[in-house]
C-alpha cells in the first residue's frame, strides 16, 4: 500500500495542492499543503490553460519551499484531480442478475455488480465514479444485504458520476504544463463528504454542501449510501459578482466586502443606516461608503436562491424529509458570516460547518472547512491504494535528502 498521497484542486477562487501520508494505525496526516488564488478559471472550468498552469506551478513551488523550511522530503510527480463544475452529471444506473436456484448468492451479487459497471456512459464523458446504492429483488426494494434472500431477479442500483472529457483534459493539460501528471479525476462533493461526515450521519440521512467559488456540489446520503448528488453552477464567485455589480466596485473590493463585512442574514449586526467604507488605492475610492443593509440584502438574495435550488432539487428526488442528521456545509465559501443560520431557515434542517474529521495536520488552519474537499481526495487516494497496490505506487516517488 502506498503511504504518500497527493491531490490537486484547480478551483475558481484558489488552486490547492496537498500531500498526505498514511500514519501507523491508518489515519491520514497532511504533511504539506499550499493554496494560491486561481487564474484562468471561471465557474469551476479552466478558460485559460496557461494561467491555470502558472497557478499549479506556484502551488508546487510553495510546497517545495515549505518542505525546504521544514526538512520535508516528498517530491510530487503525480496527483489526484478534484473535479467540480456543472459539467458533472449524475445518473441512475443498474446491474441485473438472474437468480439461479431461486436464492441470491455471491455469484448473483457479483454478476449484478459487474453488469452495473458495464452500463454505458454518453460519448464525450469521463466516468468519475460508480457508487453502489441498494438492491432490489423482484419488486422488493431498499435491500442492503441480499445474500440468502429468495427471488428471481436481483438488481443493484448505482449512481454513475461522469464529467465532460474535454474539461478534464483541459485540467490534465494545465497540470502537465507544470510537470505534474494527473492520476485520476475524483468528484469534489463526495470527497468533501468523505472528509466531514460521521458514519451515523450517513445512516440517518445527511446533506453535504461543498460551496466552492464557481459552483456548489451536493451529496445526499440516506440509509448509509449516496442517494443523490450533483452540482449547481452557482458559487461564492456569484456572491462577489453580485456585490461588484450592485455597488460598482472592483472584484477585489467585492471579495473583501463579502468575506469581512457582509452577513447572509439581513440586519443581523447592523442598524438601518450603518455604512461600510470601501478600501482602495485612491482617496476617491476610500471616500466611498455603502449601505451595510444593502450589502446584506444582495448577499442574502443570492444565497437564499442557491439554497432554494438545492431544496427544490432534493424535494423532487423525495429526499429532503429523509435528512434527519441535517446539513454539513464545507468548501471555500462556507466561511461566510451567518451562512448556517440562513441555510437552516431555507432548508428547514439543522446545519453545521464541516471540518475534516478523518485527517490530521490542519491544526494551524483557521478555515478547516475550506480544506475538506482536498482532505477527502487524499482519503480517497488512501482507500484506492488499499484496494489496488499498484495504485499511485509507481507515480509518487519519495526521496530522502
Amino acid at each position: 500500500m502506498s503511504k504518500i498521497h497527493a491531490a490537486l484542486e484547480i478551483g475558481t477562487s484558489r488552486t490547492v495542492l496537498a500531500v498526505g501520508e498514511t500514519q501507523a494505525g491508518g489515519r491520514m496526516k497532511i504533511l504539506s499543503h499550499a493554496e494560491i488564488p486561481s487564474s484562468g478559471v471561471r465557474k469551476s472550468q479552466i478558460i485559460d490553460i496557461s494561467q491555470a498552469t502558472q497557478s499549479i506551478r506556484s502551488v508546487l513551488r510553495e510546497i517545495e519551499a515549505k518542505q525546504d523550511s521544514t526538512g520535508g522530503n516528498v517530491e510530487i510527480h503525480n496527483a489526484l484531480l478534484v473535479v467540480s463544475g456543472q459539467h458533472i452529471h449524475v445518473a441512475n444506473a443498474e446491474g441485473n442478475a438472474v437468480v439461479a436456484g431461486g436464492r441470491v448468492g455471491d455469484a448473483e451479487i457479483m454478476e449484478a455488480a459487474r453488469r452495473s459497471r458495464e452500463m454505458p456512459i454518453p460519448k464525450g464523458r469521463e466516468l468519475l465514479d460508480i457508487v453502489d446504492q441498494d438492491y432490489q429483488i423482484d419488486s422488493l426494494v431498499g435491500i442492503t444485504s441480499p445474500k440468502g434472500m429468495s427471488g428471481r431477479m436481483l438488481r443493484l442500483n448505482t449512481l454513475q458520476i461522469h464529467a465532460s472529457s474535454d474539461r478534464i483534459q483541459d485540467a490534465r493539460t494545465a497540470a502537465e504544463g507544470a510537470r505534474l501528471e494527473i492520476s485520476e479525476p475524483v468528484f469534489a462533493a463526495t470527497c468533501t463528504a468523505d472528509a466531514v461526515l460521521e458514519e451515523h450521519e450517513r445512516r440517518n440521512g445527511v446533506l453535504v454542501l461543498d460551496l466552492g467559488g464557481g459552483s456548489t456540489g451536493y451529496a445526499a446520503y440516506c440509509d448509509g449510501y449516496l442517494a443523490a448528488a450533483g452540482v449547481v453552477g452557482v458559487g461564492g464567485d456569484h456572491v462577489t459578482n453580485d456585490i461588484a455589480y450592485a455597488f460598482q466596485t472592483t472584484n477585489a473590493q467585492a471579495e473583501r466586502l463579502k468575506t469581512d463585512e457582509a452577513s447572509a442574514v439581513i440586519g443581523q449586526y447592523t442598524t438601518d443606516n450603518a455604512r461600510v467604507r470601501l478600501t482602495g488605492s485612491s482617496a476617491l475610492m476610500e471616500s466611498r461608503a455603502i449601505s451595510r443593509r444593502a450589502l446584506d440584502t444582495v448577499v442574502n438574495a443570492r444565497l437564499k436562491e442557491l439554497f432554494t435550488v438545492i431544496r427544490e432539487t432534493l424535494e423532487e428526488a423525495d429526499l429532503i424529509h429523509r435528512l434527519h442528521a441535517g446539513v454539513v456545509i464545507a468548501g471555500g465559501g462556507a466561511g461566510m458570516r451567518d451562512l448556517e443560520s440562513l441555510a437552516e431557515l431555507e432548508l428547514g434542517l439543522g446545519v453545521r460547518r464541516g471540518r475534516p474529521l478523518q485527517v490530521d495536520g490542519l491544526e494551524d488552519v483557521s478555515d478547516p472547512w475550506a480544506f475538506a474537499t482536498i482532505s477527502g481526495a487524499l482519503l480517497y487516494s488512501q482507500r484506492a491504494s488499499g484496494t489496488d497496490k499498484s495504485f499511485l505506487g509507481d507515480i509518487i516517488g519519495r526521496f530522502f535528502k
Binding site: R42, V90, V141, G233, D242, A301, E316, D318
Partner: protein, 366 residues
C-alpha cells in the same frame, strides 16, 4: 383517415419552422395536418393552415428577433390556437431557436399543448456559429424552457447538420431541407407503418415526459446498406451531443419491399450494441416501394430522461418540473460581466449568472 381529422398535427413555428413544416408537407403531397404559426404575415402560404400571432402588437411585421415580443405575441393569440387543435393528440413542433418567433412563441405554444393534454415532440434547430454569440446565447437560454414545456425535445445544431463549404444562403436552405427530410422520415414511420407497427399511441406513451433526446437519420443504398447505415449513425455527431445517458431508444427502418429480415436484425443489433443493450428499445418499419425503391433510411431517437422508461426509480437524476417560473429578465437578456463567456447556469428558465437582486427586482436603497 383524412389529414384534417388526423390525431397528429405538424406545427411550424416562426419563418424557419414554417419552411421546414411546409417541406415535410410537400413530401407527403400536402396530405398531412399542418399548422404554420408566425408573427410575420408574409410567411403565410395558405390561410387555412396559417395562424398569425400578435397581430395587434406587431401588426404582422414579425418579431424582429425579439424573443420577449414574440412570447407576448403568442400569449395574446394563444386562444386562437385552440380552434386548430380539435382532435389532436400528438403535435410535432418544428422551430428554430436563436431568433424571435422561434425562440419566444414556441414555449407558449408548447405550454398550451400541455394544458390541453396534447403530447408534443419538438425538433428545434440551434444557430450556426456564424450567426454570432448573441443568437447562440439566446438559443441556449430557451432550450431549457423548451425541454421543460415539451414532452420530448430534440435540439439540432445547424453546424453539425450542414457542412462548412456552403455559402450562408445555401447552408440555410440545405439545413431546412435536411431537417424536413428527417422529420418526414419520422412522420412516415408513424403515419405509414409497415410490418412492424410503431403507431401514434405507442409513440405517445414513449415520449410522454421523455425530456431531451438525440435524433439522427441516414439514407443509404447498395448491397451492404444496413451495415453502412449503422456505421454512419454510430459515428454521427448528432447522436454524440449528450446531456445525460440514454434511457430509451426508438429506431425506425424505412425501405421498399426489398427490406430483408437480416438487414432489420443488423440495424437493431448495431444500434443496441452502440447505445446500450440493456436499454428499452422500440423499432418500427415502413415498407413503401414507391418512395424508397432500393434505398434504406434509418431514423434513431435516443431519449435521455429516465422518465422515458416506464419504471422510475427513487432519486432519479433528471426528474422534470412543469410550469417553469417566468424570469423577469428572460434568459439571455443582459449580462453578468464576470460570467458572460461561460456556459450559463439556467434554472427553470432563469439565467442564474445574472445578479439575483436584479432578477428579483429587489430595491437596495443604496
Amino acid at each position: 383517415m383524412s389529414a384534417a381529422s388526423s390525431p397528429m398535427l405538424l406545427v411550424g413555428v416562426g419563418t424557419a419552422g414554417s419552411r421546414i413544416a411546409h417541406g415535410v408537407s410537400r413530401a407527403f403531397g400536402g396530405d398531412l395536418r399542418l399548422l404554420a404559426v408566425d408573427t410575420d404575415a408574409a410567411s403565410g402560404q395558405d390561410e387555412e393552415n396559417f395562424l398569425l400571432i400578435g397581430g395587434n402588437r406587431l401588426s404582422g411585421r414579425g418579431a424582429g428577433g425579439d424573443v420577449v415580443a414574440a412570447r407576448l405575441a403568442a400569449e395574446d393569440s394563444i386562444s386562437a390556437l385552440d380552434g386548430k387543435l380539435e382532435g389532436v393528440r400528438l403535435a410535432v413542433v418544428v422551430t428554430a431557436l436563436g431568433g424571435g418567433t422561434g425562440g419566444g412563441a414556441t414555449i407558449e405554444i408548447l405550454k398550451r399543448l400541455t394544458d390541453l393534454g396534447i403530447h408534443s415532440i419538438v425538433f428545434a434547430t440551434t444557430p450556426f456559429a456564424f450567426e454570432g454569440e448573441d443568437r447562440m446565447r439566446s438559443a441556449r437560454g430557451v432550450m431549457s424552457m423548451v425541454e421543460e414545456a415539451a414532452s420530448a425535445a430534440f435540439f439540432l445544431p445547424l453546424d453539425k447538420l450542414v457542412g462548412g463549404e456552403d455559402n450562408m444562403e445555401a447552408a440555410m436552405k440545405r439545413a431546412v431541407d435536411t431537417i424536413a427530410g428527417g422529420v418526414t422520415l419520422f412522420w412516415r414511420l408513424v403515419e405509414k407503418p409497415g410490418y412492424i407497427r410503431l403507431d401514434a399511441d405507442r409513440i405517445r406513451r414513449l415520449v410522454a415526459n421523455a425530456g431531451r433526446g438525440r435524433f439522427a437519420f441516414v439514407t443509404v443504398q447498395g448491397p451492404d446498406r444496413a451495415s453502412e447505415a449503422v456505421d454512419r449513425l454510430v459515428r454521427s455527431e448528432m447522436l454524440a451531443i449528450a446531456s445525460a445517458p440514454v434511457n430509451a431508444i426508438l429506431c425506425g427502418v424505412l425501405a421498399g419491399e426489398d427490406l430483408r429480415l437480416s438487414e432489420l436484425g443488423r440495424v437493431a443489433d448495431g444500434i443496441r450494441e452502440a447505445f446500450g443493450e440493456q436499454i428499452p428499445f422500440e423499432i418500427g418499419t415502413v415498407n413503401d416501394e414507391a418512395t424508397f425503391c432500393g434505398r434504406l433510411s434509418v431514423v434513431v431517437m435516443l431519449f435521455e430522461s429516465a422518465a422515458a422508461v416506464e419504471t422510475p426509480q427513487q432519486g432519479q437524476a433528471g426528474s422534470r418540473r412543469r410550469g417553469a417560473a417566468k424570469s423577469p429578465l428572460g434568459p439571455g437578456q443582459g449580462s453578468a460581466r464576470r460570467f458572460h463567456k461561460t456556459e450559463p447556469t439556467i434554472w427553470h428558465g432563469e439565467d442564474l449568472d445574472l445578479p439575483t437582486y436584479l432578477r428579483r427586482n429587489i430595491n437596495l436603497d443604496l
